[in-house]
Symmetry: D2
Subunit: 332 residues, 4 copies
């Protein structure tokens, strides 16, 4: 029996809790969340977890792993405590908003030797896996360039914007990670432009709502990302991997299989809304990967180092947007 | 130089006139239409044709072929006169509304030895050709059954309904022909149901607006046709040929390549509206085939005998609808 | 707590078992299956059910409902025993292969007053529900005719064919049910043709592999069904509901969202394979509906009477295929 | 009667010749091409044009307009001669490869007061028009950013590469033009990366085969262009205009309406191949626009100034690619 503890009873915490609890031979033993809420109570009841303080988790030798899905400002401290206690960790991204601090934390976590998996769920999505495997198996030929689109259905509330770390870190980080993952190499140059085209309140909060990013890889391949806080039809999550023998295009996952024909023409439904729904299977598979890591040491697809590298690209994009110039990333 | 004469300056006559005149080494010498109209006048001017009486056409030895695109009730007489005059004919379907009469005309035309091509333009449409060739080349495996859909954008005017010969003869005849063409064999049994579901005025005029037809071929293969006088989105013209190795699905030809994404989802344009537009290329190619017949004797894809056989199926469908029973078609 | 017992540890039994056990406040107490197998053992372990004899189930007053997913020849007896014991039943279709016998069983079950839901899971599929609701809400206008396609990925083994009851009863019954469900009225006439086009062994076993069926409803609306034991691309499950204001087309549910572009063109994946996968959500929702029936009396979408009526249409289709004539169904 | 003269009997010259000659009241009087070839001879015969020297064209007062479709290095001289002779011009892009020279020529042509239309046929394509009009009419809301894809089916021959002016000027110029056209304002900043990922011979010839370009408009809107000399499936010509109320996605124009279903899934045909086919209608409409300019002074959608501005962006992209830095474009 694998025993897990969860930090954070919010939306993504609930997803992880149910996915963990649904696995054979896995028990969600503890739930830690400082806020007394109905959600916390119900989550504990439905998963059989006990609501405790963090201390209980880290001092219980029967706990095999912890899932960190609490607010971003608590991630670093929990990672360090898990490292001290020798607990394997599944941590939601980002480790922290401040990059220098993240660098420091990652060094300490790595030094501790604990297993530390990062929540880049998109790597586990069957569609994205399919693209990756087709390239890896040589079916598609050489990957030459990638076009990625991520657009939210609508801008988040301004208070979320304020503590999100900004568009590059909050939203585009998954695309930065996917770029590295598909290319199988590091990025050497980042150019980003962006602005507030949707809502001036986002600009007033010091963020942007639209960005266009160009990445150049070490070996000279290219990635274009367009990131936006709105698409008129909902969540827009697509990718095109242009290879020498195949062009692999990942479309949106629609809500249903119905086409309505009327005087306007033929209408298909909007995409699944939103990432919780779109990546439901990916969340399930990444939690299974965490359990597989605990059970038999299988290396997960994304570790804490991947979080660091993706965040490095987000930092570079932010710098490029600020200065108007491309930013070089030295080998490190 | 190939010299042609056209009977009928209406909509389909104009299509044939321009397609004939646009061909290298082809001259549309005469235009015959009893009604003095601006359309007739303009058509003559734009194609360089002279407006004459039928007699002039049939007595001019320089005329190589005649295009019969006048009203249905004139087809038979013009066919007989062309047969007498030894002129090759391109004739719009049907030969006549009365089947016994058609049988008689076809016998006489065939006896005359003139070339007589029938206007089943769908056989020349590149999409339908593609299906046919894929089967003929063995790529698709054995053709086992066919599903065909023909729906008009909207019911025709009641006065058209009254002189159309009815849904089976007026609209479904193209599907009967395509069934024979794709199967490459004759039909042995027809079952048809139908009714007035769209407009009671059509029923009052003695016709139906919706029909479902089942064909069984001599060798025991099947065809399902659904024919209707309306589709909410416009002209609906599709076919599915189920073969042992491939399922060949012919979709509608849309007006443009634009997808509009908004809160309703993703909308593509309605189909091309209507057969004149949808089959523009088919009309061009069938007229080229008529000219090729005149020029070097190439057999066209549809002859007058095909018109007879398709009409036989329409007759059988009408009989089946009337009696409520399947109708057997004896080898003939 | 709702306590359930399951008969049958086969493929569909497992689906129901997990779906039942995954529900809050539901306990799968018993599992009955005469065959000692690893599958039975594992299913019991994973759902916490006890393996018992049928007698235990029917004599335990704490059992609220039974799920009959055992082989078809046991359905009728279990239904009668459940009726005697006053247990609510969820029963897989068909009740039995012999129609007269089914009529008798249904009468007895209905007389007993027990709740009896039938496994027409397609009624619970979100896509099909969407079609139904769009019509029910009046958005689509009047439903005028329906085209339905059901094709298996490949013919079943011959020993399955032999005890399946034949294509009409085994496969097409879901389409018969959907026709009644969408039309909201009974069918008055059935015409069916069919044959062995795929595999002569199916014919040798007394069955057909291809059928085309035409239904006429009491009020004079039409349904065309094409049913086949093979589609070259896999499981083919589509529907087109032609309404006065909208044409509602339900496409296949594909395996992924990837389009591969290469010299052949653009390729999308095959459909989900097979009904267990395609209707995974439908199976979940129908089991939830059974529990809702037990918990608060909500009427499920399909009762035992619907099983009888769908089977009546399958019988009529078989008769029509045998005689070559349409079969009238008198009001009953 | 409008009398035209054509310079250049090559592929695009032939397209213009037939489109010009097919118009009512238009006569292609002269054809000028220094190379004696079968193509030149046939074109003259089929359009009725006389093969003459340039002098004849410019000294014939009956010539209303000239079509310049000869090799790029002759464009400037012919433009100046047409300006001197007061002939209206339809000129293929680019005016010349050297930007400073182009600036000079444009100034002189504009000073002459002749009508001068540039061959940006994409502005006349019904699909692109549709996008433009939907935005212009306010249906789509505010245009915020654009993603454009242009990929050739395969790299051109190296000798073409050598005299093409390079990817930015030869291929991407149509996208630069479309960006300006859709945005309705000028570009203020260009960033381009590119490289040789397909064929090192292109690099050896001093060109690139892949480019990713980012444009920032004066008002702060963004465009991403990806340009490539190959797509595995053929000619790739797409655009996505992201607006506040609609996302307008222009897909490729496929060769046919057939979907082939087999074990691999569902395959649609490759796109139309290549620009001559894809933009057949656009070429027809732009020639009609040239005639309309001559006939009644209607302003065409693209003038010589648009050629200059698009080329300015190509120059900036080349500079950005060379220096690795974004290039600012001062108001001019």
């Amino acid at each position: 029996m694998i025993r897990l503890a969860l930090f954070g009873a919010g939306r993504i915490g609930q997803v992880h809790a149910f996915n963990a609890a649904a696995q054979q031979g896995v028990c969600l033993k503890y739930l830690v969340d400082p806020v007394t809420s109905t959600a916390r109570q119900q989550l504990a009841e439905r998963t059989g977890a006990r609501i405790v303080e963090a201390e209980t988790v880290f001092s219980d030798p029967s706990v095999d792993g912890v899932i960190i899905a609490s607010s971003t400002d608590t991630h670093a401290d929990l990672l360090l405590r898990a490292a001290d206690a020798g607990k394997a960790v599944f941590c939601e991204k980002p480790v922290a908003l401040d990059f220098a601090y993240v660098t420091d934390i990652v060094r300490k976590v790595e030094a501790s030797g604990i297993a530390c998996m990062l929540g880049f769920q998109r790597r586990y999505d069957p569609d994205f896996r399919h693209v990756r495997e087709r390239i890896a198996q040589g079916l598609a030929g050489t990957l030459e360039h990638i076009i990625m689109t991520t657009r939210d259905p609508a801008p988040p509330p301004i208070d979320y914007v304020q503590r999100s770390g900004g568009l590059f870190l909050d939203q585009a980080i998954h695309d930065f990670d996917m770029a590295r993952y598909l290319l199988g190499e590091e990025i050497s140059r980042v150019y980003a432009v962006g602005g507030c085209l949707i809502d001036p309140a986002i600009g007033a909060a010091g963020d942007i709502d639209t960005a266009m990013i160009t990445l150049t890889s070490r070996s000279g391949r290219f990635v274009q990302m367009n990131n936006c806080r709105r698409a008129a039809f909902g969540y827009d999550q697509r990718l095109e991997a242009v290879c020498s023998k195949e062009v692999l295009s990942l479309g949106n996952s629609l809500q249903n299989n119905l086409t309505i024909g009327d005087a306007r023409g033929f209408t298909r439904s909007p995409p699944q809304n939103y990432f919780i729904e779109r990546f439901a299977m990916a969340y399930r598979l990444e939690m299974a990967a965490f359990v597989a890591r605990l059970r038999n040491g299988e290396t997960p697809l994304a570790g804490i180092r991947d979080g660091l590298e993706a965040q490095r690209l987000a930092e570079a994009a932010r710098e490029s947007h600020r200065t108007g110039l491309p930013v070089d990333i030295a080998p490190h």
